[in-house]
């Protein structure tokens, strides 16, 4: 049997990679994908806890995380499209004005 710690290490590593991607990339689409990575890391840890505690509540919680991720991706990508329409760029560091 795989120890629980291994799953937590894996989830931490994926979460850290997501954070690094979100903080270092300029492309706003990749930044969004980094957020998805972080959500997936959370799901991995939820499901592994659920397995070790023999309780399905973790599964339910990760089910809701997936739902919210779908909603977030739809809204986020719509915002990216309308930003691109105004600014013609997807680089987060070039979006530095409050107007328009």
């Amino acid at each position: 049997m795989v120890p629980l710690e291994w799953y937590i290490w894996l989830a931490t590593a994926v979460f850290a990679i997501g954070v690094a991607g979100f903080l270092t990339r300029r492309n706003i689409i990749i930044m969004f994908m980094s957020i998805e990575l972080m959500l997936n890391a959370v799901n991995i840890s939820l499901i592994s806890f659920s397995y070790y505690l023999q309780d399905l509540r973790g599964h339910i919680l990760s089910f809701f995380v997936i739902t919210v991720a779908a909603a977030e991706a739809a809204i986020g990508l719509a915002i990216i499209i309308s930003l691109f329409r105004n600014k013609a760029t997807v680089h987060a560091d070039e979006m530095n004005e409050m107007k328009g």
Binding site: V2, L4, W6, Y7, I8, W9, L10, T12, A13, V14, F15, A16, I17, A20, G21, F22, L23, T24, R26, N27, I29, F32, M33, S34, E36, L37, N40, I44, I47, S50, Y51, L53, Q54, D55, L56, R57, H59, I60, S62, F63, F64, I66, V68, A69, A70, A71, E72, A73, A74, I75, L77, A78, I79, I80, I81, S82, R85, V90, A92, D93
Partner: protein
């Protein structure tokens, strides 16, 4: 022996693929690496007795969310992206911060209190099937969160349509 070997394979593949996702120049390649990553995560869920969630992972994440990403990447057609800088100039700070966050997580690892075990042992799930067990719990104990989730999805649909629609010239 086999569970450990399988876990190690999946863990290394997942970490390598997530690194590939955040480092590729071309966003289309990032999306494809993410697709393979989702398959590996779904397989990891299978080893954790979560077959329904594995299917949902593929159908929702790979089949819907990632396709949306791919559509947006293709729509914006970022040809010049490949030649420009990928990272912000202060990228070292970001990497340091992420290392610090993971260090905090790992420091708390030894003091996680594990509560009492629940009733859903692997045998119970196998006899009842994961889908049935999850459905019963979802429609009894978690009915209100489930309804709220449906409202969230409705808001997302309306919001996405309103935001992405072309503004009519008034």
């Amino acid at each position: 022996m086999l569970p450990q070997v399988l876990f190690l394979y999946f863990a290394f593949a997942i970490v390598a693929l997530s690194l590939a996702v955040i480092t590729r120049k071309n966003p289309v390649h990032s999306v494809i690496f993410m697709l393979v990553l989702f398959f590996h995560i779904a397989a990891l869920y299978l080893t954790l007795n979560a077959e329904f969630l594995a299917a949902i992972q593929i159908i929702v994440y790979a089949g819907a969310i990632l396709v949306l990403f791919l559509f947006v990447v293709l729509m914006l057609n970022l040809k010049e992206e490949v030649t420009e800088h990928r990272y912000i100039s202060l990228w070292a700070v970001g990497v340091l911060l992420s290392i610090a966050i993971s260090a905090i997580f790992l420091m708390t690892l030894s003091s996680i209190p594990l509560g009492a075990k629940g009733v859903f042992s692997p045998d119970v799930i196998a006899s009842e099937t994961h889908t049935v067990a999850l459905g019963k719990l979802l429609y009894t104990e978690f009915l209100y969160p489930f309804e709220i989730a449906s409202v969230i999805l409705l808001v997302a649909i309306v919001g996405a349509v309103v935001l992405a629609k072309k503004r009519l010239k008034s």
